[in-house]
């Protein structure tokens, strides 16, 4: 496995009138070539901010990547990249699909032109070549009759088609990393399958590594290779999809897994509901961020930050329940929490 992107101790803050909002607090991870890594968590947990930081899309001085944060793309330092390298890095190396296909396309431009834009800049194609390439890309993302669709405006397309166009734009320069920020949240289930299938296909065809930002655990289970569960700007648990869904060790992951109804569960029973709200990100946090809402909370959880316990090469969890002195706990999956 060859790492392509390395993020170490990423801190991102937003400067607001109310104070400094620390949205991402020390996130580290590695993305390998051709794999799919999913960021899972509730809104406000820092998953989108992390994704945007990778592309340096956060606008200073309002948002700020803190000193000491490290983002390395194939060895290159992204945090201190100059303007020119950055514009090559964006689009050519890493690109992003945004959450809402309705608002992220320019309504006054034909979709062909929007795809051609980056082809002209990055690949230095002339108008004719770019147009041809755009039609090919539309064909690649399964848009019917691409020759005529290339001259459509976004409002003439349905939500699913717009999301396909977004994917075509993101893939225009065959990037090695694709960041998909909630790519199916705004879409219906039958269209959701079509889009996820398309991404899966493209992944095998082009070997693109994908960072999937989502809160839909169903999508994650079917699509991701590895998962990291985020909460209040921190990674609480990370592992392969199987480790997270069948042997998760963090109470927050259990809460996430048990709060979604499944077709197998009995109807009209109480769903597991987390009490309280996530911590205020303006305040400093020097203990486990989940402590206030955790059913297994102990004294130490409110005093110290838990260290990351390594359970296997891929599976890591930050929780005091892993400490040898912690009481025995049975996990959501009915196993011992500590092995």
């Amino acid at each position: 496995m060859e790492p392509i992107l390395e993020v170490k101790d990423l801190h991102v803050s937003f400067n607001t009138y109310a104070g400094e909002v620390k949205a991402v607090r020390g996130v580290s991870f590695t993305l390998n070539k051709g794999e799919t890594l999913a960021f899972v968590g509730e809104s406000g947990c820092g998953k989108t901010v992390t994704a945007k930081a990778i592309l340096r899309l956060l606008k200073p001085p309002f948002a700020e990547i803190k000193e000491g944060s490290e983002i390395r793309y194939q060895g290159q330092d992204v945090v201190h990249m100059d303007k020119k390298t950055l514009s090559n890095y964006r689009g050519e190396e890493v690109s992003m699909i945004f959450q809402d296909p309705m608002t992220s396309l320019n309504p006054t431009m034909k979709i062909g032109k929007q795809i051609m834009e980056s082809l002209k800049i990055h690949k230095h194609l002339n108008k004719e070549q770019a147009r041809k390439e755009a039609i090919e890309l539309l064909r690649l993302v399964n848009i019917p009759s691409p020759e005529t669709r290339v001259d459509s405006y976004p409002h003439e397309l349905s939500g699913g088609m717009r999301q396909r166009v977004m994917i075509a734009i993101a893939l225009a320069c065959s990037p090695s990393i694709l960041i998909a920020d909630e790519p199916t949240t705004a879409l219906d289930v039958t269209i959701q399958i079509q889009i996820m299938d398309l991404l899966k296909d493209l992944k095998t065809k082009l070997g693109t590594a994908i960072i999937l930002v989502t809160h839909d655990l169903g999508v994650v289970a079917n699509f991701a290779d590895r998962v990291q569960v985020m909460y209040a700007g921190q990674v609480l648990e990370r592992g392969t999809t199987r480790e997270i869904f069948q042997d998760s060790r963090h109470p927050y992951t259990w809460a996430l897994l048990s709060s979604v109804p499944t077709l197998a569960k009995e109807s009209k029973q109480e769903l597991y509901a987390l009490k309280g709200t996530p911590p205020d990100l303006i305040l400093p946090l020097n203990h486990c961020p989940f402590a206030a809402r955790c059913e297994h909370c102990m004294q130490i959880c409110k005093e110290q930050m838990p260290p990351e316990t390594v359970l296997s090469e891929t599976h890591k969890v930050s929780c005091w329940l892993q400490h040898p002195d912690a009481p025995r706990t049975i996990t959501f999956h009915g196993k011992e929490a500590r092995s």
Binding site: D188, V189, T190, Q192, I193, Q246, L256, S259, L271
Partner: protein, 331 residues
């Protein structure tokens, strides 16, 4: 239907149509010949993709829209013929919880004012009684009494949706249309709101029409489920029956499309993938609305619109070929 059965049904919708004139030539058929009934005390789930007419159907049932044709009976009375005191009584008995908790609360009113607005119309409470009632309602939806003096912008999405529920409960309704009450909320908050709805239903013997596109959640909360496609009701059955044994090809595809949170399960093997997207409901063609995307479509499907019929006791399907397909699949 016998007289006795009639009294069991709180809402009876017969051949309901709601068309919107888009231009001189184009008509948008949002709800087209829908017939269904809701029993007292049950939850009827209504699912379908966006633009299939679920919301229009729900809104027409409580007379937020006037139907183009067909009737809606509430407690045995045709709601479009109600007037005066009877209409006022109906508006008290049938309430709605809206989809977007950010848009459905007046930003210039305090929470207390929002909740008392309906009470002022239907009850003659003194100021003291009103305050008491607001506090009681806030407690019932899991908030503290001091929220009464706050404004909507101070609350989170889940809290706002609780206010939407408290507002609906304020006039002691019998029937509540829940129009996608959870789709704007986070997963963990969704569970809280759904638990609250289930609890309130048990306490007050409420009847719900639960509109959602989240099939797993609908299965969780509903007793019976109806599936809509492009203005038509294509299948209606009890919750267990519909999910375990769907008969309409569209329902089958919808259910197979639900991603399960289990990485071991191989989705692609059981998935039925639908080609294309939902066609426009403006001037829809004759015949079955689903026939363009249906792999079993035959000549009959393109010509005749299938009628909703009872295939098995309590299981209604609108498909010409469902029995035939069901037989061949069993073999």
């Amino acid at each position: 239907m016998s007289e006795q059965q009639n009294t069991q049904n709180i809402v009876e919708v017969t051949d309901l149509c709601k068309y919107f004139r888009v231009s001189r030539k184009a008509t948008l058929k949002a709800v087209d010949h829908v017939t269904l009934s809701i029993r007292r005390g049950e939850t009827l789930g209504l699912v379908g993709e966006s633009g299939c007419g679920k919301t229009t159907c729900g809104r027409t049932m409580i007379r937020l829209y006037e139907p183009t044709s067909g009737t809606v009976k509430f407690n045995g009375k045709d709601i479009s013929k109600l007037s005066g005191k009877e209409l006022l009584q109906f508006k008290k008995d049938a309430q709605i919880i809206f989809q977007d908790p950010y848009a459905s609360l007046d930003p210039r009113m305090t929470i207390g004012e929002i909740i008392t607005e309906g009470m002022n119309v239907h009850y003659r409470y003194s100021e003291e009684e009103k305050r008491k009632r607001v506090h009681e309602l806030l407690n019932r939806v899991g908030l503290t009494a001091d929220y009464a003096n706050r404004f909507a912008h101070e609350l989170s999405g889940g809290q706002r949706q609780r206010i939407g529920i408290a507002r609906a409960l304020a006039v002691n309704p019998q029937f509540i249309v829940c129009d996608e009450p959870i789709s704007a909320l986070d997963v963990s908050i969704q569970a809280q709101v759904v638990n609250l709805l289930i609890r309130l239903q048990k306490e007050d013997q409420l009847t719900y029409l639960f509109i959602s596109h989240d099939l797993a959640m609908v299965k969780h909360i509903s007793d019976r489920v109806g599936v809509m496609y492009l203005g038509n009701l294509v299948e209606l059955a009890s919750n267990v029956e519909l999910y375990d044994h769907p008969l309409h090809p569209y329902t089958k595809a919808l259910i197979s499309a639900i991603p399960t949170a289990d990485p071991e399960e191989d989705m692609s093997s059981k998935q039925i993938k639908l080609e294309g997207e939902v066609p426009s409901p403006i001037n829809p063609p004759d015949g079955c609305r689903f026939c363009q995307r249906c792999r079993y479509a035959c000549e009959q499907c393109r010509k005749e619109t299938p009628v909703l019929r009872e295939v098995q006791p309590g299981h209604f399907v609108a498909c010409h070929r469902c029995e035939e397909l069901d037989q061949s699949q069993k073999k």
